[in-house]
């Protein structure tokens, strides 16, 4: 279904993503972990084609999307939604309009400039907002919402695209634990109910273990781990985060040690 072969991205002489290769045969929920600067964001940005690859290829359902340009590239982007750490909504526009931006690829530029969306689209946008529990906010400006609500608006915009893949770049890094859980559960539900592929960059191990079917670990641009959450042992995690050799803030000792303890669930601060 999705195949990434030898994908590389160079900035100057430094490789942000170095020869990344993986295959996804059926829609799954995949977590990409690694410390900051490991190349997780760059990898997702290349898949969405926000960034161009230096080498390698991305193939989806037999079509090479690595070098698409113009309308073909935008058509791919409409099928491959992206969610950002800082939500990337238009702050001064109302929530429903932000969600309707998910249809931009299908509509004419002139109509969208004057905010002329079909009534069916508007109803669908509100239905999606309702599914995420924020339909009440439809007429408010996006900037008036809390971080967790804004991220759910961003997810609604992604769903409005009716995408086959949802890429989430650190979707919960700017949120408090409570909202982080709501957002991650929304993504998980979207994967299970709609059968969409979800690929999320995550900065904490426990989130990846808890919500993902498959975990990919990156370190210094390379994929160093690819397996199920169960295979993600303490030793592997240490390796991904480079802990042990040198101290790293990204891998705090509590996180690593939390894996050693018997399953006790993740404490949710109320």
């Amino acid at each position: 279904m999705l195949s990434v072969q030898g994908l590389t991205k160079r900035f100057g002489n430094k490789a942000a993503v170095d020869n990344a290769t993986f295959e996804v045969s059926k829609p799954a929920m995949i977590g990409i972990i690694g410390r900051s600067g490991a190349g997780k964001s760059t990898l997702l940005r290349m898949m969405n084609r926000l960034a161009d690859a230096s080498e390698g290829s991305i193939t989806f359902e037999g079509n090479d999307i690595t070098d698409l340009t113009g309308a073909a590239k935008r058509e791919w982007q409409s099928r491959c939604a992206m969610i950002f750490q800082q939500f990337n909504l238009v702050p001064r526009m109302d929530v429903a309009s932000n969600v309707l931006h998910g249809t931009l690829n299908r509509r004419s530029t002139l109509a969208t400039m004057f905010n002329l969306y079909p009534q069916s689209d508007i109803h669908q946008a509100i239905d999606i907002l309702d599914r995420l529990g924020i339909a009440e906010q439809a007429a408010k400006r996006a900037e008036a919402l809390s971080g967790g609500q804004q991220q759910r608006v961003a997810i609604a915009r992604a769903l409005m695209q009716n995408p086959q893949i949802i890429l989430a770049d650190e979707p919960i890094a700017s949120l408090d634990p409570m909202n982080a859980q709501i957002v991650m559960e929304a993504l998980r539900r979207i994967h299970e109910e709609d059968g969409r592929m979800v690929i999320a960059n995550l900065h904490t191990l426990d989130t990846a273990r808890r919500y993902c079917d498959r975990v990919i670990g990156m370190r210094d641009g390379r994929i160093v781990f690819d397996g199920t959450p169960e295979q993600l042992t303490t030793g592997v995690a240490r390796d991904i985060y480079g802990a042990g050799d040198d101290f790293s803030e990204a891998a705090t000792s509590t996180e690593i040690e939390a894996l050693d303890r018997p399953k006790q669930g993740i404490p949710v601060p109320a």
């Binding site: 900035f11 100057g12 430094k14 942000a16 900051s36 600067g37 190349g39 997780k40 964001s41 760059t42 940005r45 429903a96 004057f114 905010n115 002329l116 009534q119 508007i122 109803h123 509100i126 239905d127 309702d130 529990g133 924020i134 339909a135 009440e136 906010q137 439809a138 007429a139 809390s146 967790g148 609500q149 409570m178 909202n179 859980q181 709501i182 991650m184 559960e185 998980r188 539900r189 299970e192 808890r210 919500y211 079917d213 949710v268 109320a270």
Partner: protein, 316 residues
Amino acid sequence: MGARFAVSSLIFPTNGDPLMVDMTSGQAHTLQDIRADYMAQTRRKRVYGAILLSLFVVMMVAGFQTADARNAGGFWEGLHRLFDFPGEVLGEALEKLAELPVHFVTYLPSLIETINIAAASTLFGALAAAIVSLLATRGLARWPRLVPVFRRIMDAMRAVPEIVIALVLIFILGGGPVPAMIAIAFHTAGALGKQFSEVNENASLKPLEGLESVGATWSQRMWLGVIPQVAPNWFSYGLLRFEINIRASAILGFVGAGGIGYELKNAMSWGKGQYDEAAAIFVLLFITIVVVDQLSSHVRDRLTHGAAASKKERQS
């Protein structure tokens, strides 16, 4: 895999998350209501938009017809001659293309005079603007009650066209670069003062509070707390103003302030045979503006990002 996470714990939480308040208090608001409300709002916006757009079109058409009726020649009758003059200038310049470099050398001194007028007036104008803008920004002003006074002073300085001031000063002081410099500096102080003061409004007050806590005077707080924050934006506005002032000082040459404007007036008005010189002057002015623009973006980039960081590429 569904067992690995629990949705239920979040649907009925016990804390006061705003979302949950919405869900429980939202009994009165069904999905149908929300849809209807939002559609009504959308329709209202569309109607307002359509009215505004048609008003705009009507006023544009009506205004144009009024203006055209008062026009001495008539817009449509004269339209086809619009490119006659540039065409003639370009034609003559192309004919005498070989002489252009000579003209460049001839007019370089007067260009330098024009740039000098612009630079001096921008410098003095910006200094005045810096002080007045700090006095006219709410939250920063030395005397908060006098903020409106300083704002009106800036308005007045902007309102008087520099050519009027220049004409008066030339009458009193005689022709030359100094009256032009004073005239442009006066206007610059008003124009830049407003832009500076808008930049000041976005400055964070936290460093100022920090400086106040150590017992700093107002001037110290401004110099050490505000200027470092606003300098890049001030500088880029200042360079934009420099660009505008080059043009302004060229225009003042027409009324006797010297510089390249005087030469341009002669080249353009003495009739046939001089258009190649006019073209050379235009090219010189264009090059000057391009150089200032390039310089401005380069310096601004270094000021905002630092010399080392400007080349560094971002990566996740």
